[in-house]
Amino acid sequence: MSNQASTVQEQTDHATALRSGLLSCTACGLLCAPSSQDNACRCPRCGARLNARKPNSIARTWAFLIAAYIMYIPANLMPIMETRSLFGEQNDTIMSGVVFLWLSGSWPLALLVFCASIFVPLLKLFSLTVLTISVQRKSTWHPHQRAKLYRFVDLIGRWSMLDIYVVTLLVALVQLKSFAAIQAGPGAMAFGAVVVLTLLSANSFDPRFIWDFVKTTDDRSNQTT
């Protein structure tokens, strides 16, 4: 470790690990100097594969993102729940589920489900698109804001799973033969795919790209903010 530290101190104007020729382990955080130029370098402490940046990050992010955009359409148009009761049949999409909650008087919950199932997936899709395009264009535009956006997307993404769990529980519980039975619809599958694909997309995006084109002198001046 000590000789690594000295190499860093010699190169204070190149303040990132990449520019100093070092790799930091994504699993355990150890900073290591790659022993050779080959790609199959492993972390000496935890054994994880070392990469300067996540491999094929941009391509993978786009692939998952585009797939998620496509699945978003059936997820919102197809019914996620089919209710059969004494009063007839009813097909619920995500939006009509929110409307039902709103009309039945529990508007805080309606708002919650709306946020988790409609607002958050859309926000994730758009945010990741903006982030990926900005990285591809080697933009230096507001890195702090973009880093915050990525952190936010990472934080709230999982909450879209809410509707999947609600459908699962309702399907299991509401099997009262003569009165009512709930079946899961094909929309649930598409919606699940959207959630998983956006999670994978956010996972493949490497936030370090946001900072790669920012010169160190720039962020010194931003430091006080």
Binding site: L101, L109, A116, P143, I164, V167, T168, V171, L173, A184
Partner: protein, 234 residues
């Protein structure tokens, strides 16, 4: 009832753990906390010198403001105690019925696995697999792996394959979604309460406890402590 007993047992266990380990381990971790070594921010790759943190302090990246690492006193012991408690609650949460529904003498209850089965039988296997992974497999795996690594470590033994186990936990961690599932239960209860009586089961309370335990593990576990401790042992 059982869950209350379970959490009480674990609380006592945790206290006794702390009594036993007041002196040595955490001070070690702090003195070893290496001055003069560098780390790169995981979110912006900025190189910076590690600092020794005060108790419960958090190190923030100088450039992008991401959290680099935090300090929890007796972090590993706390993690172990929470994980053991979490495992007990996990067993209860999976063995007992989650919620029941009552409508004019008809009653249906479901366990978590029952719910997964119900949706599996409706030709939505991918959804069933997704629910199974995020609420049953990943939380259980995480708890087991944590205990597998940390329990022998307390008597100074480093278990075989612990590097792989560590990486496994890191990889599956984002896919454990117990807290989202709790919110899902809440929403379904409100939806059902309009037309039928909802009976909360033992597993529901266990799930609340499990959620708290997993959150507590996330707060107290700091991978740096683990590596510092292990390097010190070697």
């Amino acid at each position: 009832m059982l869950s209350i007993v379970g959490s009480a047992v674990c609380f006592i266990l945790q206290i006794s753990y702390h009594r036993g380990q007041m002196s040595s381990k955490s001070t070690q971790a702090q003195t070893v906390a290496t001055k003069g070594t560098y780390i790169a921010c995981p979110e912006c790759d900025f190189l910076q010198e590690e600092v020794v943190l005060p108790s419960r302090g958090v190190a923030i990246c100088h450039r992008c403001g991401a959290e680099l690492y935090h300090d929890t006193p007796y972090g590993l012991d706390r993690t172990l105690a929470f994980a053991i408690c979490g495992l007990m609650l996990y067993c209860l949460a999976n063995l007992f019925p989650l919620i029941g529904l009552e409508l004019q003498g008809n009653r249906s209850t479901t366990t978590l696995f029952g719910a997964v089965q119900a949706i599996y039988n409706q030709k939505l296997q991918p959804v069933a697999v997704l629910v199974f992974l995020t609420t049953i497999l990943v939380p259980g795996l995480e708890l087991l792996c944590t205990i597998y690594v940390l329990l022998p470590l307390r008597i100074g033994k480093i278990v075989p394959g612990f590097r792989n186990v560590f990486r496994l936990v890191q990889a599956v961690h984002p896919w454990g979604m117990v807290e989202v599932f709790m919110l899902g239960i809440l929403v379904s209860v409100v939806k059902l309460a309009n037309f039928a009586g909802v009976v909360p089961g033992i597993a529901l309370w266990s799930f609340v406890g499990l959620m708290l335990m997993i959150a507590a593990i996330g707060q107290s576990f700091n991978p740096r402590d683990l590596w510092v401790f292990i390097e010190h042992r070697r």
